[in-house]
Symmetry: C2
Subunit: 185 residues, 2 copies
């Protein structure tokens, strides 16, 4: 039952070295020098040496409609491209005011007002992106988004996160940590 | 982080006595004489004496739109009404074909074609209902739905489950267990 669950451990070891760790909103996470990413297996036990462990699972789309899904699928790259040595982990937690909204109201804010999917599409395939859901598995954060891109795309990545942070959807983000990493060769 | 999570344990003890346990589809669950419902706390440890433990969390609406939400809120009762001595726990698992559908396609099947919310509304407030999400927390089932009603509503409850099982949405249900219970006074 653990095949979709990934652990992000912040600590002294990992495949990714942390270059910058900013608390954008909220209480933040303890500084860590590395991030270790582990796909959970049945015999897994938590990495107790880490400063923090965050868990998320891949899940179904919550807002994406059929036409958008096809646009995404057409250009979405896999993770792990050799040139994509820069990355980011961005845990966010949305407010109670967001979660109490009905599905249609959330969709309007998410896409009609905030162009969340359109913004993601604009930076694909250069910036690979994977969303992990953590709200329904007891994590403090609702979502953990993982990004991978070439060093030459660093400015584009800044643009992407800046655009999203200015959107009406972000009025409902009460906690956000922005962790930038580079892959250890 | 456990405040929204509930454990349903099937075993020899619990507040609810099992009167009938049917595997509607799929592999089913081991027979149990009682169901124990536990709200998880930080110092919780799983009930290892139980035949099975299922975990679910309350979460945001996935399909309910604003107008429907208001209709539901207006007549939805709380659980625990003294006259509502009959209950049911219905774990279901939907197929991969369901989960791969985009949000708009799932909504069409769920409500436009299957009238899932309209059907629930028709039996409110007589049949109280609480949905627990389990798909994103590593459970075999996607949803655990808990119902409570007066003994005089037993026929209405049969109607409700029969109506849903005949709906196009149920073409995507690959596992379902129907566990009927009565409250121990």
């Amino acid at each position: 039952m653990t095949e979709n669950i990934v652990e992000f451990s912040g600590g002294a070891i990992g495949q990714w070295r942390v270059t910058k760790m900013d608390t954008v909103r909220g209480q933040g996470l303890e500084q860590a020098s590395h991030i270790k990413i582990t796909q959970l297996t049945e015999d897994y036990s938590p990495d107790k040496s880490a400063a923090w462990n965050l868990y998320g699972c891949t899940s179904n789309f919550r807002y994406t409609e059929q036409v958008e899904k096809e646009q995404l699928k057409a250009i979405e790259p896999e993770l792990g491209r050799s040139f994509a040595t820069h990355g980011a982990l961005i845990p966010i937690r949305k407010s109670a005011a967001w979660w109490v909204l009905a599905q249609d109201k959330r969709r309007v804010i998410f896409e009609s007002q905030s162009n969340h999917i359109k913004t993601d599409l604009r930076y694909l395939p250069a910036i690979a992106r994977k969303l992990y859901h953590s709200r329904d598995s007891g994590c403090h954060y609702d979502f953990l988004t993982w990004f991978e891109f070439a060093p030459t795309e660093s400015n584009s990545f800044e643009e992407l996160v800046t655009t999203l942070r200015k959107s009406p959807e972000w009025d409902f983000v009460e906690e956000e940590v922005d962790i930038r990493v580079v892959r250890i060769q």
